[in-house]
Structures are given as structure tokens and as C-alpha cells.
Amino acid sequence: MSDRNRWSHLVLMMASLVGVLAFLYPFLIDGSGSGGAGASSAAALQQSPLLMIVVVGLSLAAILATLGAGAMNARMVAILGVLTAANAVLRAVPGPAGFAAVFTLPVLCGYAYGATFGFLLGSLSLLVSALIGGGIGPWLPYQMLALGWVGMTSAWIPDLRRRPRTEVAVLSIWALAWGFVFGAIMNIWFWPYIYAPQQSGMYWERGQGLIESLRSYAVFYVVTSLWWDLARASGNALLTGLMARPVLTLLRRFERRFFFAWTDQTSS
């Protein structure tokens, strides 16, 4: 791994950590930690959406800016652009099937081409599809980060090309799991609007508020979003299972045509 790739990978990991922290932030304000009464923790929770959007936006910008510092070449720019377009077109299929299609390519590309590529494909395809469909809003940084994570984490699956059957099965299960996790992550951006913490005097132990708010979140998720997510997750799994083998063959065939000149000339 060249110096540049290592660097962009480091920024990717650090920014993802900041993002995870930002996503967890509304659950961690429980009134006991910030040393105040219920009123101050309620105020902190009411301000948290703004803070979270700023932090998530900055970490996303840090990831995208490291590309500008030279982590990409023309081939990578071209293939990312075209695959992003393909993904945005696949999303145009109406209904949950369209959203399932948005997951399939980042999972497969992250698995075949690595974490950085998967992340960029995921987050940029949501950006492009928001630009086309006019879906820009405060939810966009969250969506971009979350779908970027889908692609990024897919690179952590060990290479199973010796066992094609297992490979397809593992990738489908992976896509199924991400279908639910993505839904759960995406609800968090408006969670502070729905949940108001109780007064901290009610709790005997520190951290009780966290358990309470996580429990409420679980209930909210099961009641409102689980059924939609069920459709989406199974759509993901089916589509990934169907497309995994031919698409992976395609990706590996083009890997040789695309990444052959991908070594750092300064190091040799």
C-alpha cells in the first residue's frame, strides 16, 4: 500500500469514527453526564441535530477532500463517475426495489475494489441521485455517510473467490443485515425530534438514561420503520444474490484493465 493510500485510509477511518460518535450523540446525553438538571439536558438534546449535521458534514468533507490531495487518478475518477451514474439509474426503479439496487453495487464494489472505492461509490451515488431528484436536505450528509459505510465495510469481508457458493451466500446475508442497520441509522437524524428525555432526578444510577433512550429507540424502530426495512433488506438480499456472481466476474475482468497502472511511481 502506497503512502497516499494509507493516508486516505487513515482519514476514512478517523472520519468514520467521528461519524459514529455523532450518530450516537443523541443517545449519550442523558442528563446525568452534562452535570445539569433535566432542563439543560433537554436543551442539549434540542440543539443536537444542528451539532450533528455540522460534525457529520465536516467528516464527510474531510474524506472527500483527501481525494483532492491526490489519492485518485484519472481512471479512478472515470470509473467512479460512471458507476455512480449506473447506481443512480438503478435507483430510478420505483419502490423498494430501487433502493435495494442502490445497496447492491456499493456492496459488490467495496468487496472487490476496497474500502475507499466502496465508500466513495456509496456516498457519491446518493449525492448524485439527490441532485437529480431534488432530494437535498439536512438528511443528505447522514445518508451519504451511511451508504458510504455500506461500501467501506464490505471490503472487510475476506476474499472468498475460491468458494463461489459461499461468496454469494455471505454477500447476500451481508446485504440483508445492512438493510436493517441502514434503516436504524437513518432514523437517528430525526430521533431528537421525537424523543424527549425525562428529568434526570428520576434515575438512581448513572447511565440509566442511556438504557432508557435506547429502549425507546428500539420500540420506535420496531413500530414505525421495521416493516419498510424488512421489504428493503429482503430486496437487497435477493438482488445481491442474483447479481453477485455476474457482477463480480465483470468487476474482476475490468480490475485488470483499470488498476494495472496503479502503483506509486515515486516509491520505486
Partner: protein, 361 residues
Amino acid sequence: MRNPLVWLLWAASAAVLALSMRNPLYLTLIVLATWLVYLGVAPDTPMAGGWRALLRLGLIIWLITIPFGALMNHTGEIVLLSLPENWPLIGGPVTLEAVLGGAASGYALWTLLFIFAAFNLATDASQLMRMAPAFLYQAGVVATIALTFVPQMLQSAREIREAQRIRGHHFRNWRDSLPLAMPLLTTAFEHAVQLAESMESRGLSGELTDLGPGRTRLLRGSLALGLLLLMAGLVLRITWIQAAGDGILLAGVLLMAGVFWQLGRHSRRTRYGLQIWGPGDGAVALGSVVALAAGVLAARSNPALVSYAPHVDGVLIPPFSPTLGLAVALLAVPGVVSLVQDRPPSVKGEDGRPVSSDTLP
């Protein structure tokens, strides 16, 4: 058409206000202002129907959040009804305060949705892409390539579909989409190869900055440090003193902004066709900035004025300050300006047909 920078400023101001306020009186002012803006932009665009549907969906979500908040929260004095104490989570009294708090929160969420409906209808993708800051240049190139390729890929999807139909393939359910998706992806890859080769032959490589190795290392280190500061600030804010966390967060934000600015300064690009700063743009920008500044100052000096939490402090009637209300109402400036200034007579020619700017001899 207004300058997209002005729209961005307006949307950012309105969104920051809507995100930091829960007081329903100010939120109503924001909604009214946005409604004026919406009236000014909506008739021109075909996207309006989709957003109307989304806004209706937002109303339904609002109706869901009210009972949810009311059932989960049991603080407050005025008890409307009581559920058995032994029901998990929802057991206990249902109070008027909790219902009002839930309604105000859902209202804030819907306001946010409405603001961005107006923003999305007012701007278009290519205009926004041109405004991508210089340090995001690479990502901007990728997104622009994608935006350019989308119509091309829709076209080739149609062609592939037709070709498969001629071969006797029926597209009935999702299983049949594979013979469409695979040729589409293969074509996309072939396009990408061609594009990469033509980009390289025109001298476009990955390297767009002219930074020396020393400076590059410095900027990388600063970016990593900025992310670390953000992390530390968040952790401090949760576990210890909020003010200390805020200070560190601010330091991290400033450091990262400095790095982005430096990166942007070193990427050279040429612009064609500058955006015109129209006559009403100054007024809109000024109105947005004043409204934002007033809202932020008020939230800093007197948080009780903008927040609304009856289930915590028992105040049922939200406070209202006319000065702040007037400042928030300045968000309506783009709507007023477009209703006064931009309406059709200027768009139609003398014979009643629209005049287009590209009818040069």
C-alpha cells in the same frame, strides 16, 4: 432565477433557525416565510408534484410523532389520561405537556422539510455543482461525470431493453431485470475505459494541486488533528463540561476549515460563465444573514426564548419577542422580491410567446 449562492445562503439560514428553535410561534413565522418563497418558485418547475407528496407524508409523520412522544414521556402536571403503571415503557400518566412538546417537535421537523422543498425547487443540479468549493474539486468532477452520464445510461437502458425484447425476452418481474442490468453495467465500464483514456490523453491526472511534499504532510497532519479534536470535543461534551467540549469542537472546526481553505487555494481551475448577481439578490442575502444572526444571538443569550419544552419546565404558552419575530420574518424576502419583481411580463415577448436567450442569428 436567483443566484444559487443566494439560495444556499437563504436555505442555510432558514435551516439553522429551524434546527435550533422549537418555539412554535417562531416556527410558524418561518413556515409562512417559506410558503411565500414556495409560491414564488413552485410554478416554474416540474418537480413540485413530488415534493407536495413528500410534504403530505411529512404531515403523517408529524401525526405519528405526537402520540409517540406523549406515550413515552410521563412528566408534567396536567394529566389527560392514565395508562396502567405495569405496561412497559408506555405505562403511566399521559400529560398535556408531553402532547404539546411532541407536537412542537414534529412541527420543527416538518418546517425543515418545507424549507428544503422550496430550496430544491428553486435551484437545479448543474448550478449547485458549479458552486462546489475548490477543495472538493475531485468529488465534484466525479459527480459531474455521473450527472452527465445519467441521461446516456437511461438511453442505453432503453436500447438494451428493446434489443432483449426483439430476442423474445419478457420483462415481467424483478428476476427478468438481470438481462437488462448486466449489459448496462458492461456498457458503463466500456464507457469508463474510454473516458479515462480520453481524460489522460488530455493531460488530466489525479494530481490537481501543486503542493510540495512538506506542505502536503503538514496539511494531512492538520486534517487528522482536526478530526481528533472533533472527536475529543464530542466526548468532552457528553461526559464532562459542555463549555470545554464546545471550545475544543470550535477549535477543530476552525482547523479543518483552514485546511480546506488551503487545499482549495492550491487547486487551479478556470471558470466559464460567471453567475450574475441580480438586483434582488443583495436584499435576499441581507435578509437571510440578519435573520440568522438574530436567531443565533437570541439562542445564545436567552435559550428559553427559542426552545420549547413544556414537559420539562411546565411553560405551556411559548414566549415571544417581537424584535426576534421581525428578524425571523426577514426570511420571506426572496418570496416578496420574486412576487414583486420577477413575475411573467418580462418573460413573454410582445407576441405572447416566451423569449429565449439563445435565439441568436
